[in-house]
Amino acid sequence: MGIRDFWSNPADSGEQGVPTVEPAPEPAGVDSPPSTNVTVVKEATSTAPQEAALAEDPLVAPPSDMAGPAADSEGSVDSSESASDTRAVVNVEPPAALTSTASDGSGYRSYGDPARLTPIPRAPQPSSTRDGQGVPPDTAIEWFDAATMAVRGVSVRGHSHRYLGEPRQDAFAIGEFGGFLWLAVADGVGSRPHSHVGASIATLTAIASRELVSQAEGALSGSPEATDVTMGMLAAEMEAAARRESLEPDDMSCTLVVAAVRMSQAEDEGAQAVLWQLGDSCFLVDKGGDLIILNESGDEDALINTSTAALPRSLAARRWVIQLQPGDTLALATDGVSNLVAATPDYARDLSALWSDRAPSPSALLSVLDASVRSFDDDRTFVAIKVGRR
């Protein structure tokens, strides 16, 4: 897996032997009001006190030994580690106000404290990348209602990709093939320049794959428990496509989740779904309550794990079967959504509520999906099927 990753350690095993927790100062700046623009000085103990005017010019540091009133504030100087030594502080101009448009009543939803990053792109997208690859549209929507199911698929470009003028690297595809309804979602690896191409190829191939059809038939007649399978033919398709486009296969790296849904013969018996998962995109299920992330690895003590398996280099996928009752919703999502759902209860609640009665309109789904949530600036893709009449 040619992904340079310096953030996770395979030996991560969570926190052990946590030492005694001492009350610690809360990191300044997190959910606290900005410190007032006052220079704070502490009493000098190591040198003779001197009266000195503090320079107002932020670029000129006053001499290091200063004395003055020990004004106490929650400002940015912390002396918990030191004996009361002298520490001067220079005023700095707060950077230019970066209020996001999300908080100015433009109609964008937002959750949590306001993001500085605006959800609105700043420039039109180019029609192709520098290598001549096509650029997908900022937002993609597909949807339909059938007699016994409603399907909604939305994929939005992450707000940081919009800010930087980079393409959406998530992709999804929906189709009917071999007696199943197919849903596929792929998440292009961000550090790879053509991963949006890889994601597109992976999803389009997955929804029309004889290999997967025969796997699905086998899974439905066999045990529903999770089993490891390989996606060799998908990888081969991606590599063939890479050769056609004169690209490196690794530059098309992406995760992939696929669902093959077969409706029961009787209308009120719901459906069966065969699920494949390769990498950190995931499934969510809503059984008339909350959206639950399936197979979530819930190590609360761990830091954010940033490595993932990806096609075409990783071939191993987990495959299992679930039953869906009428009224249930099954969704495929990239981690831009699942991280957000896991971290933001209000967001999870609103996303789930869209599906409580019937499938939402695309615009209602887009409104929640594309909300402004500080620090969650990845592409977000959510493709769901609600089983049963409507």
Binding site: A11, A61, S82, R87, L98, L117
Partner: protein, 229 residues
């Protein structure tokens, strides 16, 4: 420690720690170069919305002891930057101990507020050989594999810093001033590398999370191999 109300929303946060040598030999041009660079770093990071939304910055100065000069902060809300000041010897042990305690308490605090934390990044800058004995044990405690929050460390050496020591402290990248430019200029390049790393790491919205972006080369420095102690 109170858990601040956030409306139920946790964030994804990337913490950066600057650990800066304040020993006597840094007096004059070197410490001034850092002090001049900090407001620029503040401006650049604070005004980039992608970065401002998810990175936090802490400054620790060390000499005979180590002091947290700036608590882990959202730089865009900081209006007072500490002034680094030179003092005595070069106590690596105090630096690593302070770093370990500070990171541990910061990560705990952030998690208690419902945030998710990326692996912390440390930029360690020194101009000399350590003057304290036994600092290796503090260092080992900091990078202990059983600590889920152990940081990635980039080490920079100028002046009398020892190449082998710099190599052994770094876990990710190591740089030694090559003497082609004076210390003030080299430190300017260091500050630029630090700023760029923060900005690029924060904006590399890779689908697998944030990738630590650090230069392969820094003008005025030689890249060293990272060697464990």
């Amino acid at each position: 420690m109170a858990v601040a109300a956030t409306g139920g929303a946790g964030r994804q946060i990337l913490p950066f720690y600057l650990v800066c040598d304040e020993s006597g030999s840094m007096d004059g041009a070197p410490i001034q170069a850092i002090n001049n660079a900090l407001p620029e770093l503040h401006q650049e990071i604070g005004s980039n919305p992608v970065v401002a939304d998810k990175t936090m910055f802490c400054i620790i100065g060390f000499s005979d002891d180590a002091q947290v000069l700036l608590d882990l902060s959202d730089l865009s809300t900081v209006t007072g930057l500490p002034v680094l000041a030179t003092r005595g010897g070069t106590g690596y042990g105090a630096a690593f101990r302070s770093l370990r305690q500070t990171i541990e308490s910061d990560v705990k605090s952030l998690k208690a507020q419902g945030h998710k934390v990326y692996r912390p990044v440390v930029f360690f800058l020194t101009d000399g050989y350590p003057t304290d004995a036994g600092w290796e044990s503090e260092y080992k405690a900091l990078i202990d594999p059983s600590l889920s929050w152990r940081p990635n460390i980039l080490a920079f050496g100028i002046g009398e810093a020892d190449a082998a020591t710099i190599s052994s402290i770094a876990t990710f990248k190591a740089f030694l001033a090559d003497g082609s430019v004076g210390p003030a200029e080299a430190l300017k390049e260091f500050a630029t590398a630090l700023t760029r790393s923060i900005v690029k790491s924060g904006t590399s919205a890779t689908q697998e999370g944030m990738t630590l972006q650090a230069p392969d080369e820094v003008p005025g420095f030689t890249s060293l191999q990272v060697e464990p102690i």
